[in-house]
Symmetry: C2
């Protein structure tokens, strides 16, 4: 029902100005670019790779339409021949990547593009845009998943996500990280994610009494009776639920849960649990929302709040405590020669790289080695081929398969990282082969 | 070349479950919802309204397509008659709003929807999604504009904006707040915003020498020669520019600017300025980028950095120091009766409201009054009718007109807010008429 924008004009102007330079100079040799995160943001001990599927879908159909070529022509910024070269451009390269749902760390590439320079260059902006955001959100969502073992987690992020695509992709990223469902109907329809939702305060307010609103809702949605009880007075509403339950039962309708959305959720959930239990309504679950994130959830559970599920919105969909990653897509090789950027604080490791991971007791991750692709190293190679000559090697992975991988990956985090998530730094060794190559390039450059 | 998603399924599931309840109960009376920000985030002394244009475009064509109705039918979540009711649904209501580019404060509605309850309810999620994000970014961009008077400001946010729509709308929001251009080509094409851009480090790295890269670029883009000089050694590159300039001049090509992207930008800009000036190249401008925001820009200018323009990316496009607003779209009246939510910490002011602004010496804003729409109050009414019976009252405002309004508004901020932006709180008085109505509703509710 919806297509993410595929326009090659969704790029930074400098990609086009550089492309014209490349075309004019006949610089069409093979370039190798890698996407990686330079440093983990504060409060993040690991990241979860996500967004590859959308990158591959974008590369597969990359081309300039007539209207797009016309814009280039009419912009007056480019040479007469440039639109013609663009018209022929397709993505014919190779892609290697860590599968979505893989845990990774700073400096480790999660995507490598090997393609003629103009192609690999043009796609930079959108590749970063897609990988950055979903990785950001999957990594935030994974923290919530670890903070709330066994709890129902629902994405509520649509309204404050940064636009429509962010809302759709945040639903996808949180689901693959282990959430159970989303409130976002279009994301459900698009990605086949279970959808969930009940009622807003406006439904209650539009009725002349709260009880009447509850009853009307129950009759309209008999299979899905989750009642929002904080519009006026949470405990008073819980007592209304106690009176309503037997009436609904006679109609064959069971109340599944109540939802709390404001106030001290630990306190209210304990009171509500007691009110419901005293009335023999032990099977009614308590669901909670309202500015929640992994810190709030952890705190509520530590305080023994009898809450069965959480709706997590704004803080997850914006990754509010770390709303961006310091990531880059950098040229590591051109025309068979490794390349290195040396800008202060932003130097890169040159060459085509691979990450090898080793596992210790109980299968927990014990350390990674970042090395050159052709440097034989022990451990499991995390970066695998996914696209050859512009075509996927396999069909798209299902979201369920990716979600299972995430679950396994989170289970294999070192205990420290699983428990605290920002715990002791995970050991990533930059291999001698990489350091020596970097030093060699620096020496060559000084001799020039 | 691109259409923002218009699907009515871009909504929270609960809107649909509530709609079924409303249809079943025949609750089709007029509802009044208002969008407002509950509290300003830290570091924000004011906000700049944005996003109305996209809201109106969404409302104008609101309808369910065949595929969307099919999803509703096949979901198994709704009654048999529900899709039929949805098929007939269009937006036939009225909209009142503060024009885009208006400065506003906490509690002040910037949008009021007056429509049959199901219509006004269904559009909640997307209305918040659209108004929240553009207002967030326009408000952040306005801070950069105030921090850098007279400087060239370019949006560089595409890659780390949260998805494609965020990138496009951040380009729009920053332009309307006073930026001069964007690097985002599609945003330029879509919204008719000037585009800007030069070269990336990869262009330099792909060449065997930096000077050769500069020369190739200059010949490919003779009208737009802005050279990135920090790939290896900033000052050394500036000296290369000095050698290159006369050679290019012979070809009739002038170097417009150099760009710094790393290291101590104040220090580098001073060194580069000196190197250029000593060579008589005073007309070459210095442009700078690299993790910049209003704080960094202010700091650079305070240190006397001779920088003429700034590319502002990640921090603006994610509003990184305040990545969301505590905003809401709340029912204030239904079937002619004012309504009030009393949830702890989230109580709302009931009724249809208006904001009156007064101005003091030199035309500076001196204070606002939030009152009921029918309460005669002195000052300029900020909320105006923009849509009647589902049709716009006037055609879309041009982005240039909105941008001019923003400029005027920022010029009329109280001096404290203009200088520091998070300075002394601006006085917003909640009128007696509103407080009395709230108290009356609370009393009525206790008697029930």
């Amino acid at each position: 029902m919806i297509e993410l924008p595929k326009s090659p004009l969704l790029t930074d102007l400098y990609q086009l100005t550089m492309l014209q330079g490349y075309f004019e100079q006949g610089m069409n040799d093979i370039a190798v670019f890698e996407f990686f995160v330079r440093r983990l943001p504060p409060n993040r001990g690991f990241l979860l790779a996500a967004g590859l599927e959308q990158v591959l879908a974008f590369l597969e159909i990359l081309h300039f339409s007539g209207a797009e070529l016309e814009w280039v022509r009419d912009s007056g910024r480019f040479s007469r021949d440039f639109p013609e070269s663009l018209a022929k451009l397709r993505f014919t390269g190779d892609v290697h990547a860590m599968p979505e749902g893989t845990v990774f760390f700073a400096d480790e590439p999660i995507l490598r593009v090997t393609a003629p320079l103009p192609q690999a260059q043009l796609v930079e902006s959108r590749i970063i845009n897609l990988l950055h955001f979903q990785t950001l959100i999957a990594s935030k969502a994974a923290r919530v998943v670890l903070a709330a073992p066994g709890k129902l987690l629902v994405d509520f992020g649509l309204r404050r996500a940064h636009g429509a695509e962010a809302a759709l992709l945040a639903a996808r990223a949180s689901y693959l990280a282990g959430f159970q469902s989303t409130s976002n109907v279009l994301a459900g329809a698009e990605f086949n994610i279970p959808v969930a939702g009940t009622m807003a305060h406006s439904f209650i307010q539009a009725h002349d009494s709260e009880t009447l609103a509850f009853e009307h809702f129950a009759r309209a949605q008999p299979e899905n009776v989750i009642l929002l009880i904080d519009t006026y007075d949470t405990e008073a509403a819980a007592r209304e639920v106690v009176h309503l339950a037997p009436r609904l039962e006679k109609m064959g309708i069971a109340i599944k849960a109540v939802r709390l959305d404001s106030g001290d959720l630990a306190e209210h959930s304990r009171n509500v649990r007691r009110i419901l239990d005293n009335a023999g309504l032990k099977e009614i679950r308590i669901f909670s929302s309202g500015s929640l994130d992994e810190y709030a959830v952890q705190n509520l559970l530590a305080r023994g709040a009898p809450i069965d599920g959480f709706g997590i919105g704004t803080h997850m969909a914006t990754s509010s405590d770390a709303p961006f990653l310091d990531c880059a897509y950098k040229l590591e090789e051109y025309a068979g020669r490794p390349r290195r950027k040396r800008s202060e604080g932003k130097a890169t490791w040159p060459g085509r790289k691979q990450v090898y991971r080793t596992y210790g007791a109980g299968g927990a991750m014990s350390g990674d080695v970042l090395t050159l692709d052709d440097d034989p190293t022990t451990g499991t190679a995390l970066i695998v081929p996914v696209m050859r000559d512009g075509r996927r090697i396999r069909g798209p992975e299902t979201l369920e398969d990716i979600r299972r991988r995430s679950t396994q990956e989170l289970a294999r985090l070192p205990a420290g990282l699983r428990a605290r998530q920002d715990g002791p730094p995970y050991p990533v060794i930059v291999a001698k082969a990489v350091r020596e190559l970097a030093a060699k390039l620096d020496r060559q450059s000084m001799q020039n």
